[in-house]
């Protein structure tokens, strides 16, 4: 797949860093960032990546807390724990926070910013200041959502905020919600501009397009999607804002407006948004699996181009969310077909990963466990996605718990598992210390069991006709709902070992060294955590990113000196 590689790994480049140091009259950076630098407007991509990750993991707790409260309400058929309005506000903000302030910023902002320059041998992103601005749009967006609870009890019309519901309930919170979405959307666009230009133009000269780690390909596809889809969401939010606050009637049927127009604008963004949440995760999978299976990735080009295919096809499937919105039959047929086509490039990836595992020397590290866990979950979630893509079946289960079960399988079993896997894999690089593997395995087992218990019965509930977004339900659904609630509690407990592990290991975990996993991609050639500006001397690429077990390659050992590795 790659040209035969030179045995000397990453040769030092002839030219050295030309940045003047402090005593040469330049304004050199400090050697290391202090803890308070992480709370400032810092332009280092690694600081920004960590800021994204930490912020999003905090929002994850907030969104998870809302889920626990909702599941407690749903433990009994009656509405006896939360007021219905509060329940609505929680379900709206649970969805909004988990999508816009947890998965998107963690997967794209966090891993993307931290890893991309390190993986392509750049000292920073193309536009560091823009990058910092993009991050600092996120905390205020979260603050707006929090504020919406104090000024009118939070937006209540679901994360989709369909009019007319969104225009007649809780106007001020809904306005704040729209503003928050415009802010995270802007952040996403600015981030995407940065990723695209960085990957396009700032690779070390020795790295050709087909030698990039697959995570970079995934981020290219993600960024293109975000660039083309997010502004349309912004347009929808602006129109909604005007309808609510300035007396326009875009989505008011009694004045000639049309609510379905909102749905089109919204889903033109929000369907690609599910690929925004999974493509970077696919990238993480393509990194984690070969490293921990000690095998070259199967089908590098197939995986790379399938990301782009998903990006392209993903722009033309949005109406499958609207099969029951009076959609014309020809549109149902077109969008059923385009939706089912997405399963092809996704299947290409799944089979490539399985083929990578096949005959590999698999190390059951926690990162690998989560990656394999993701494979199983995502296949299941993908299959239920195919069933939902078919218009006849979709009409049957539309707006039931079947849909909730499906998208939690792909978003929790997919995206969240992937983020966990990425954290276990790159935590040593980010902090310089290893996470505790025992705690990690406890975390994995709890998460795995919790996920299955929480989200599988939802399919059954949906098939039986339980509608989603309700605080009260028919007593015949009580048994399965209680099972779901038990699962949700297990998931709530599962984060305890994880957060404890992260906090404890960050201070006093085992020292990791530059390359604890014996990985071949470029981020592992620098110190852990990487120095400011990433390398003293930029590395030169002499081999592909996944050439494990193909030859006796010279490895960079834990202490940084080259060592002969028998099993690379």
């Amino acid at each position: 797949m790659f040209k035969p590689f030179n045995k000397t790994r990453f040769m030092a480049q002839a030219e050295v860093s030309i940045k003047p140091t402090e005593d040469q009259g330049g304004h050199g950076h400090p050697d290391k960032w202090k803890w308070y630098d992480y709370f400032t407007f810092n332009v280092d991509h690694k600081v920004i990546g960590i800021q994204y990750l930490v912020t999003s993991f905090l929002f994850y707790l907030v969104g998870g807390f809302m889920a626990v409260l909702m599941r407690t309400e749903l433990a009994t058929p009656d509405s006896d724990f939360l007021s219905p309005e509060l329940y609505n506000a929680f379900l709206t903000n649970h969805g909004t926070i988990m999508i816009f302030l947890w998965i998107v910023p963690a997967a794209i902002g966090g891993f993307g910013n931290f890893l991309i320059p390190l993986m392509i041998g750049a000292r920073d992103m193309a536009f560091p200041k823009l990058n910092a601005i993009a991050f600092w749009l996120n905390p205020p967006a979260g603050a707006l959502l929090a504020a919406s609870f104090f000024f009118g009890g939070g937006a209540q019309s679901g994360w989709t905020s369909y009019p007319p519901l969104s225009e007649i309930t809780a106007n001020l919170p809904q306005t704040l919600w729209c503003l928050a979405l415009i802010m995270v959307g802007t952040s996403s666009i600015l981030g995407s501009v940065n990723f695209l230009v960085t990957i396009w133009k700032m690779r070390v000269p020795s790295m050709k397009w087909d030698q990039m780690p697959l995570f970079c390909w995934a981020m290219v596809a993600t960024s293109i999607l975000a660039l083309f889809a997010t502004p349309v969401l912004a347009a929808a939010m602006v129109l909604l804002l005007f309808d609510i606050n300035f007396g326009t009637s875009f989505f008011k049927p009694d004045a000639g407006g049309n609510v379905v127009v909102y749905q089109h604008l919204f889903w033109f963004y929000s369907h690609p948004a599910v690929y925004l949440m999974i493509l970077p995760i696919f990238g993480i999978m393509s990194e984690v699996i070969p490293v921990h299976a000690r095998k070259p990735i199967f089908g590098y080009k197939a995986i790379a181009y399938s990301s782009l295919t998903i990006c392209l096809v993903g722009l033309f499937v949005w109406v499958h969310h609207m099969f029951t919105s009076g959609t014309a039959p020809w549109m149902r047929i077109f969008f059923t077909i385009s939706t089912l086509i997405v399963a092809v490039p996704t299947g290409v990836k799944i089979f490539s990963w399985v083929a990578t595992l096949w005959g590999g020397k698999i190390r059951y590290t926690t990162a690998m466990l989560f990656a394999v866990g993701l494979l199983s979950m995502f296949v299941f979630g993908g299959l239920s996605g195919v069933t939902l893509g078919a218009a006849p079946f979709d009409i049957h289960v539309h707006d039931t718990y079947y849909v909730v079960g499906h998208f939690h399988y792909v978003l929790f079993g997919g995206s969240v598992f992937g983020i966990y896997s990425g954290v276990y894999h790159w935590f040593p690089k980010i902090t310089g210390r290893m996470l505790n593997e025992t705690l990690g395995k406890v975390h994995f087992v709890l998460t795995f069991i919790g996920t299955i218990l929480t989200f599988t019965p939802m399919h059954q509930l949906g098939m039986q006709g339980m509608p989603r977004r309700v605080a009260m339900y028919d007593p015949q659904f009580a048994d399965l709902n209680q099972l779901v609630t038990v699962g949700a509690y297990i998931l709530a407990v599962s984060v305890i070992p994880f957060y404890f592990n992260v906090l404890w290991s960050w201070r006093s975990g085992k020292e990791a060294g530059p390359n604890p996993w014996n990985a071949l991609t470029m981020e592992w050639t620098t110190d852990s955590p990487p120095i400011i500006e990433n390398w003293e001397v930029l590395p030169v690429l002499t081999h592909g990113p996944y050439e494990y077990g193909m030859d006796k390659a010279v490895q960079v050992g834990p202490a940084g000196e080259p060592t002969e590795a028998t099993q690379v």
Partner: protein, 206 residues
């Protein structure tokens, strides 16, 4: 600083460029174009909404909210020709003609301002407002958003003019700022051409 640039100035300009992170010059242009591609999609959203409503309403625009045509046509002429004027400005700075750049950029600002004033004048004389009906919703929202972008463009050009008061800030070697202002101005122009065709010219076809 007209005329041929001497080597000292070139070195100084270069040194300045490195300090201000201008080793990524071409990247900034690339970044701006990428961003504008995205920005265009936001207008595309508004245009799509406009077209959907146009298609689904028998009378579009309704009788009481007809659009004015003459003034916007003059405005279009002004805005479109200003794109050509600003291009003369960047061409001048590429030949190290700073005074030329300032002159053409100044004229562009004047033309942009005339456009905005014309737009406001049009708003004030239409006799209907944002809330009148669905058409006026679309009309004011779309032209208003475009107007905001024209305003931002003016601020960018004025920013370039402000920075160019220092003789050595822009030269044939360092002209990313003017170039970016120009690209943005072209963007505003292109959006207007689409907008003018959809909202104004299409009303001629019944």
């Amino acid at each position: 600083m007209q005329g041929a640039i001497d080597s000292t100035t070139a070195a100084a300009a270069n040194g300045h460029a490195v300090e201000a992170h201008e080793e990524h010059q071409d990247l900034r242009v690339l970044g701006l174009i990428t961003f504008l591609a995205s920005e265009f999609l936001m207008f595309a959203g508004f245009f799509a909404v406009f077209l959907v409503f146009r298609g689904s309403n028998a009378e579009w625009p309704p009788k009481e909210t007809e659009v004015e045509l003459l003034l916007p046509a003059v405005n279009t002429l002004i805005l479109v020709s200003s794109s050509w004027v600003i291009n003369l400005g960047t061409k001048a700075i590429k030949k190290n003609d700073l005074a030329g750049m300032r002159k053409w950029f100044g004229i562009t600002v004047a033309m942009g301002a005339v456009f905005l004033v014309g737009q406001v004048y049009e708003y004030m004389n239409l006799g209907y407002g944002l809330r009148t009906n669905l058409f006026s919703n679309c009309f004011y929202l779309t032209t208003g958003f475009h107007g905001a972008h024209v305003f931002i463009g003016l601020v960018l050009i004025l920013g370039v003019l402000w920075r160019s008061r220092r003789a050595d800030h822009y030269s044939s070697l360092a002209h990313t700022g003017p170039e970016m202002a120009e690209i943005y101005w072209h963007f505003v122009d292109v959006v207007w051409i689409v907008l003018f065709s959809l909202i104004y010219l299409l009303t001629l076809i019944k």
